[in-house]
């Protein structure tokens, strides 16, 4: 690891801690008055939405395939984690321990589901893959509607409220870091090569199916974690929450933010999940606006608002210092 890399990681870590401290200080100082818990809830919502949207971007942006069934994996994570935390409650685990075990269980279950769905589905590409992922998500939903352990089509309530804002925030930070590392790793580069030209990639000796299934599994794993936080924040859910519309909503957030940009996904998810809460009276117009924005983005900026651009703190700082140096030279 070069010295520059080390500094970059340190800087990013400091940046994240500063944001967290700032938010916590705002909450503690009671700037929002009576609506502090409400605002905290919105921030928690933003955290798990970021995880879901960023994980979907791994498939849509970096692998270049279309998934219309992300809500299916989210629901697997949500239900499995809810069942696990319900079974382990009162067995001597601390709240934090229980939370971590539950979200890991949710993530793993969704990841396994991702492998199971991915192996057959990823033989297809393009339109057909999109339809098959949607079909799988619908099948998962129908299953949850029929199993008695998941409430049998009725609301599953009484899930422990374990998702507090600090926990959700740090889980999000860890997840996004891992996703970023995945994208920049050998695996991520391979997947992007497949996106650019899968025939050339396979001619170069890449096992296309393996890498596609791997990416799909990683994406589903993080979707499951997002779902687990969702379940322990909402404390009650019904399978119809995770229908096609939810998948479409997540997908539109990915595309508006920018396919192939985790920065775009984070900013997109934060804004698109916080804005509707802030403007409650326009709630009915939310999806209407999404769809119009989606068409406009497709017409004028097909890559999404951020395209493939990634935010880099080191680059910003480097540019600032560079400018100062040139200014000195000029003077």
């Amino acid at each position: 690891m070069t010295k520059q890399r080390k500094i970059a990681y340190l800087l990013n870590a400091v940046g994240v801690v500063v944001i967290f401290a700032l938010l916590m200080a705002l909450f503690a100082a009671g700037v929002f008055g009576t609506s502090t818990t409400y605002i905290q809830g919105i921030c928690t919502t933003a955290c798990y939405t970021v995880i879901m949207v960023a994980s979907l971007n791994l498939v849509v942006g970096f692998m270049g395939e279309f998934s219309l069934g992300h809500a299916g994996f989210v629901s697997v994570g949500a239900y499995v984690s809810a069942i696990v935390s319900g079974a382990l409650a009162g067995k001597g685990l601390s709240d934090l321990g229980l939370f971590l075990v539950a979200i890991l269980a949710g993530g793993l279950a969704a990841g396994i589901m991702g492998v199971l769905v991915g192996i057959p589905a990823l033989r297809l590409r393009g339109d057909y893959l999109a339809i098959v992922t949607m079909a799988f998500a619908e099948i998962i939903r129908v299953c949850f509607c029929n199993f008695s352990i998941t409430g049998g089509g009725k609301t599953l309530s009484g899930i422990l409220k374990l998702s507090t804002f600090p926990r959700a925030f740090w889980v999000m930070v860890v997840c996004v870091t891992f996703m970023y590392m995945f994208v920049r790793s050998k695996f991520g580069r391979t997947v992007q090569a497949i996106r650019e030209d899968y025939i050339a990639a396979s001619a170069a000796g890449i096992n296309v199916t393996f890498y596609k299934v791997l990416t799909f599994a990683v994406s589903s794993f993080f979707a499951g974690i997002g779902g687990a936080i969702y379940a322990h924040y909402m404390t009650a859910m019904i399978p119809t929450n995770f229908n096609f519309n939810y998948s479409a909503e997540l997908l539109s957030e990915v595309i508006i933010g920018g396919t192939g940009s985790l920065t775009g996904s984070i900013i997109g998810a934060v804004f698109l999940s916080a804005l509707p809460e802030a403007m409650r009276q326009f709630a009915t117009y939310r999806m209407l606006c999404y769809s119009v924005v989606l068409v406009l983005v497709m017409l004028f900026r097909p890559g999404g608002i951020f395209g493939r651009w990634e935010f880099s703190l080191t680059r910003v700082l480097g540019r600032l210092t560079h400018r100062r140096e040139t200014a000195k030279k000029g003077a």
Binding site: G64, F66, L68, P120, A121, R123, L124, G126, D127, Y128, A130, I131, V132, M134, A135, F136, E138, I139, V142, C143, C145, N146, G153, I199, F244, N245, A248, L251, S252, I255, T284, Y285, M287, L288, Y290, S291, V292, L294, V295, M298, L299, P302
Partner: protein, 296 residues
């Protein structure tokens, strides 16, 4: 299972299947010409049904038969189809299949939420469209309007087949997907043919809306998306882009749904989607489709 129950289910399945087949026809024609899944197609049915809901009382008040309201529905849907094609799909047509798919998805969300804003989220009940008696033959009750629905479906599909195979316009519609540039050189206005295809597809959606409302007189804003998906499955099942395939696929999906509903009511959707997955994995080109290799 007794024979009468079997025949009863068969007829219900054919009824359901005829509706799916008509919708699938719209998907197939659009996919056949521009290789795009028109996600908004299901929502055209929803718009058509709302048009029926509002125009049927007018028709009845004017002393005309209720089913004439379908003329208004066809007009509204055809105009809507042309508008969507011109303003949303045509600009992104060159940008690739991903952009087209996203735009189609966006149009579907748009129409659904527009309907939610305009008509409210509450379901509405449509007045009876056909007032035909139910006859009973050997323990099987046959509502005549169900038979009429099946008949309308069959007639329209035969008509479409003759139109596409036999007329000059139909020939143009088959030529455009084969080679756009060559079609232009042969004096075909490609854009006009695509718009015409959308127009026909959405008119068929309006007819399907009439048939659906005759059997299930309830309109909701999300009725289109689920039905659209089933019809899409039907189109893929039969071989997308092939008109007889849409008929076979539609009837199959309808029969599967009704018969699975008899034995496991909670699982019929899963079985339908499962069928789609199996078909796509085993023979992606569908029952009537031909396998075409991919050029490197």
């Amino acid at each position: 299972m007794t024979l009468s129950l079997f025949i009863q289910s068969l007829i219900n399945g054919l009824n359901q299947g005829a509706i799916y087949a008509l919708i699938a026809l719209g998907y197939t024609m659009v996919y056949g010409i521009i290789r795009m899944i028109n996600f908004a197609h299901g929502d055209f049915i929803m718009i058509g049904s709302y048009t029926l809901f509002y125009t049927i009382p007018l028709m009845v008040n004017a002393g005309m038969p209720a089913w004439l309201a379908v003329v208004a529905a066809v007009a509204v849907c055809a105009v809507l189809g042309i508008l969507v094609e011109t303003f949303a799909y045509r600009p992104v047509r060159k940008a690739g299949s991903m952009s087209a798919l996203i735009t189609a998805l966006a149009m579907s969300i748009f129409l659904q939420n527009l309907a939610m804003v305009l008509f409210g989220a509450k379901p509405h009940n449509v007045q009876a469209i056909f007032s035909l008696p139910t006859i009973t033959v050997g323990g099987v009750s046959l509502p005549l309007n169900v038979l009429l629905t099946i008949a309308i479906g069959v007639v329209i599909m035969l008509g479409m087949q003759i139109f596409v195979k036999g007329t000059k316009l139909g020939k143009a519609m088959r030529a455009v997907p084969q080679d756009k540039d060559a079609s232009t050189l042969m004096g075909i206005n490609v854009n006009r043919i695509i718009t015409l295809t959308f127009c026909i597809g959405s008119s068929l959606a309006a007819v399907a809306a009439l048939m659906y409302c005759a059997t299930y007189p309830r309109v909701t804003t999300d009725m289109g998306s689920m039905m659209g998906m089933k019809a899409f499955i039907a189109a893929v099942l039969g071989g997308i882009g092939i008109i007889p395939g849409a008929m076979i696929g539609g009837i199959l999906v309808g029969l599967i749904e009704i018969f699975v509903k008899l034995f496991a009511p909670g699982w019929y959707e899963a079985v339908t989607y499962g069928t789609l997955i199996v078909i796509l994995l085993v023979k992606p080109s569908g029952i009537l489709g031909k396998n075409t290799g991919e050029k490197v």
